[in-house]
């Protein structure tokens, strides 16, 4: 089996338009959630979100590109450009033929769908722009990364709701580990902050109107975010030979299905993914110093996740740190695991644990060290990152400090 390392990272999200800004915001415990600014927001009950601010698509893309790039694709391309630039890789010949792209998204081109439903249903027009289908399809972002960077190997998009990015990165990890591909671009993106997207979420009555407070007794729901995270996963020998800077090593991955309820999470399902990832990584649970939690801020997730971690780790659960950075960037749905992987890289590379902000009241059902409100310096060797999706589909990755 080959070892897999991360040699590039890129992002755009509510905390910043690149990795450095995002790390800075996480270190400072800054909140990227604020008033939602979209058309018809007055008809929504939920009026806050972790929106990408000060974003002008024309600053990055020309008119022809914008006709083909939905907002989720634009975010993905911007994140990927940063990641590929950091890796120093160029894709030609056999490397290009064997390297690919696996990304997660839940909704795909929802901005495009929302705008064009308005055109035909609300405005009563009988004609839409000819590129709507290639713009809205879930695999558009994957395909545009493949085109832009000349990646001609195995490429596809994964959709498992809130676990999409973790499932995608798990696939990329396994493809490199097995020798199928030397390099994979992976991660995910989401841009669901459109009227129809938020309205649909309102219906479930799990959204907070005033803030995301994971693990805090006074939490009252999730807050949506948007953006992308993209990483260069690379065969360790390939990276070592070319002298690449390594950000972290990916050492394990596991997935599980609750097979129980379409929305309520299961402690057993989450626990099997957590212990599975540690088994796959061949590590002892005592080695894990930090977990980036799924931590949505809903009543159901946070207590179930805390119980799953307590069960999986036993007494060691009281020694490790577990924070939810969704308190800062919101829940990016299909893109969330990718942005949250940044907190894992920061923990391993810089020794800084991102906090769970907005933590106000202890909850006896979430009695772990959630790194409340302020980032903490700590030397951790191994971290996990959790994602538990609606539909009961769970995906957990394990990472270690760069070799």
């Amino acid at each position: 089996m080959r070892r897999v390392v991360i040699t590039g990272a890129g992002t755009i999200n509510a905390l910043g338009h690149d990795v450095a800004q995002t790390f800075e915001a996480m270190r400072e415990g800054r909140c990227g959630i604020g008033p939602l600014d979209i058309p018809d927001v007055d008809r929504l009950m939920v009026k806050i979100a972790g929106q990408v601010r000060n974003y002008d698509e024309h600053a990055h893309f020309n008119r022809q590109q914008i006709a083909l790039y939905d907002r989720f694709t634009q975010f993905t391309l911007l994140a990927a450009r940063q990641a590929v630039a950091q890796s120093g890789l160029e894709f030609h010949g056999e490397l290009a033929d064997r390297s690919g792209v696996v990304l997660g998204t839940s909704g795909g081109g929802l901005t495009t769908q929302d705008e064009n439903y308005r055109v035909v249903y609300e405005e009563g027009k009988n004609r839409v722009h000819p590129f709507i289908v290639p713009k809205l399809m879930n695999n558009a972002a994957t395909s545009h990364l493949s085109i832009e960077f000349n990646l001609r190997g195995p490429s596809f998009t994964v959709a498992t709701a809130c676990a999409s990015s973790n499932h995608a990165m798990g696939q990329a990890f396994q493809m490199i580990r097995s020798g199928m591909a030397p390099v994979m671009l992976t991660g995910g993106s989401e841009s669901m902050l459109v009227f129809g997207g938020v309205k649909a979420w309102e219906g479930l009555r799990v959204m907070s109107k005033d803030g995301c407070r994971p693990f805090s007794a006074n939490r009252n729901g999730m807050v949506q975010g948007e953006g992308a995270g993209v990483f260069v996963f690379e065969d360790y020998e390939h990276a070592r030979k070319r002298g690449a800077t390594i950000l972290a090593e990916v050492i394990g991955f596991a997935m599980s299905s609750d097979a129980s309820d379409i929305v309520m999470p299961s402690k057993q399902g989450a626990g099997r993914a957590i212990t599975g990832a540690m088994r796959d990584a061949r590590i002892d649970k005592s080695e894990v110093g930090y977990i980036n939690a799924h931590g949505t801020g809903t009543a159901a997730n946070d207590k179930t996740e805390s119980a799953a971690v307590a069960d999986a780790f036993g007494p060691h659960a009281d020694k490790l740190m577990m924070s939810s950075t969704k308190s800062m960037h919101g829940h990016l749905i299909g893109g969330t695991g990718a942005v949250e992987l940044l907190a894992c890289i920061m923990a391993l590379k810089d020794g800084i644990i991102a906090p769970t902000i907005n933590y106000e009241e202890p909850d006896p059902e979430c009695a772990l060290d959630v790194v409340p409100n302020e980032a903490r310096e700590a030397n951790v060797d191994v971290v996990l990152t959790n994602a538990f999706a609606f539909g009961g589909l769970n995906a957990v990755l394990a990472l270690r400090k760069a070799p």
Binding site: L204, S208, G221, V263, T298
Partner: protein, 85 residues
């Protein structure tokens, strides 16, 4: 139709029961209505009475809408309807 009958009809449909089998003292749990069934019932109530029900699934007990029994729900809906003007 009276508020009471309409609310019972909605709850009975969700519980797959005859309206006559739904008693005022029943809790939603008694009727076998789970969290998704509750959210769907509230949606049906909002549509039937053209009201907005203040309910957050994260904390039903602290929502300003009492769902502890069928009669409590009817009282809460009646209050919201009377406030509608």
């Amino acid at each position: 139709m009276e508020i009471r009958e309409k609310v019972i009809e909605i709850i009975a449909e969700q519980a797959v029961l005859e309206p006559s089998d739904v008693k005022m003292e029943h809790t939603l749990e008694d009727l076998g209505i789970d969290s998704l069934g509750l959210v769907e019932s509230i949606f049906a109530i909002e549509e039937a009475f053209d009201i907005s029900v203040p309910f957050n699934a994260n904390d039903p007990s602290e929502s300003d809408f009492d769902i502890s029994s069928v009669s409590a729900i009817i009282d809460a809906v009646s209050k919201l309807v009377s406030e509608k003007v």
